[in-house]
Symmetry: C2
Subunit: 373 residues, 2 copies
Amino acid sequence: MASRLHEIQHQSVTIQAPLPLDSGQSLPSVTIAWQSYGALNADKSNAVLICHALTGDQYVASDHPATGKPGWWARMVGPGKPIDTDRFHVICANVLGSCMGSSGPASPDAATGAPLGMAFPVITIGDMVRAQAMLLDHLGIARLHAVVGGSMGGMQALAWAAAFPDRLGSAIVIASAARHSAQNIAFHEVGRQAIMADPDWQDGQYYGSARAPTKGLAVARMAAHITYLSEAGLTEKFGRRLQARAIKSFGFDADFQVESYLRHQGLAFTDRFDANAYLYITRAMDYFDLAEPHDGRLAGAFAGAKDVRFTLVSFDTDWLYPTAESRRIVQALQSVGAAASFVELSAPFGHDSFLLDVPALDRIVAGALGGGR
Amino acid sequence: MASRLHEIQHQSVTIQAPLPLDSGQSLPSVTIAWQSYGALNADKSNAVLICHALTGDQYVASDHPATGKPGWWARMVGPGKPIDTDRFHVICANVLGSCMGSSGPASPDAATGAPLGMAFPVITIGDMVRAQAMLLDHLGIARLHAVVGGSMGGMQALAWAAAFPDRLGSAIVIASAARHSAQNIAFHEVGRQAIMADPDWQDGQYYGSARAPTKGLAVARMAAHITYLSEAGLTEKFGRRLQARAIKSFGFDADFQVESYLRHQGLAFTDRFDANAYLYITRAMDYFDLAEPHDGRLAGAFAGAKDVRFTLVSFDTDWLYPTAESRRIVQALQSVGAAASFVELSAPFGHDSFLLDVPALDRIVAGALGGGR
């Protein structure tokens, strides 16, 4: 239930300074919820910012406060792990527009105290990154050893390199893209329409009511979830296997394992995510096109980033952000003289590979963060 | 509106004989709506059955009675066209379970006269084909020169060859598969959940009410429509182009052309299709697996079909029913000694290529139907 979600307390800071937005609007102040792991060293040179994906959060390596499940990248972040918290001060902030403590559509209106809902301004990936920079200013961290992210997290890492190249040693961009394709936008639009078609959405003003658009949000999640997996992965994991009773019901229950799995994914999602936040963040992703302010020349976005070291990783079975998008980024980086290493990894899990057990990814991330210091 | 849809009169016949179903249930009688084009010759040897796809209908080459648009395969069927109605008697029947005049969930209960809704039994592709065979019996047509279909129409053509190989000269199977994959099932399940999540669905008993689950059906159509197009095709057709006003709204209107297109596709669909029919037909497709009754050996389905001439066509950009599925069918046919020709065509339109302007497909279909008689 969305209402319980908003009762969770998160570590956060409210920065009493305006955040100008790409829309031309401005937030008078901005609240950022974040988690950190590992000690910041004396010269504050060992900070690594992890940027999370669409439905991720700041609980990268700690149990999720709503679900109790381990952090979404606990396999990657921790003592002795590829992003080694014995060496690095790891920061992960809930993105602007999300629902885990940072400013978003569930935030109160300054005047009335009521949740803003759709009165919250539409935000962009660039706005998310500027909010993260304000958090780092607040924490007294002038420069990041690295920014790391997969999927929408990778978009933020790219946007960091475009907006703040001088604050950045390296950028690690995994399973991502410099723009949303027509197909990416189309799938997101299906999800938004599913939410907005749910009468419990109530034009986004459901927070005070006993109802929330959980059915619409579940359908949105189901559609999106298919795009996170590969066709071959789905076949291997489920194929046409039936549920335990092993007979077709000749009805509309979940006969196939893949149906049951998808229904579970949809329902479980509504326990940990807010429908309006889903609308806002998908919109930010659809608006993302780093080349747009540079007349479509992606290299223009990286004009100041030639001293940032880039590491890009794609997965051969990722049809959401296919390898060609990473190649396009690498070409733009090379054209401005930035150091960019790129690997396409083979992994069966589709787009979700960046979250899963792919040892080659661990080695690349550890290597990109540099040997012992 | 679904209610107006059900007021349309269709040419149909009600056959007063039971239709035993794969579910074990039985329809006491079956109504089949159909259209035909071209004259049946004296020895009744020139009949070609066209099987339509999920949301298709019998109006293959005549204007659609609800939308007024030309028939869905008017480019393929007509005098002098690849399926030449100067030579062939072309029959197309609305599939069992659909909403254009054949028996389906909107049909009246024999006892009460009220629409059956979800009391209509779940049907299969095999059931659809047996209903078509009953229509041919009624029309006095013992044997088909050919059966032709794309997508779900191709599944029916394959099921014809499996069930009635002796009534068939040739089978032309386009952009199809012998089973639904996990990913295919997953996308259909999203659509069904979108419909059933709509409170206007009312457990399927919406026919008498002033409300129908048009929002849920539109979302289902949007999700499915993406799967009918290729990623490259979407990029070429829409890319990231904005609507006419050419600026981002920083809101949730359809800013991108692809959003507007998808919304239109979703809405327009609800004028010509019934939500319950969508549930039943997607279920029939998901249940489709010709190899299942033969311990997973597809060749077993074609044991009696070695004298049927098969023509299979796939499209290189079709990721819904990819070429590998057609190859699998060809291998099974070859193993039983059936003549099977197979071509993968290059076309940019994804799965929808079978409906669109692909001249090579025209030549293949015309050739498969044989030279002048």
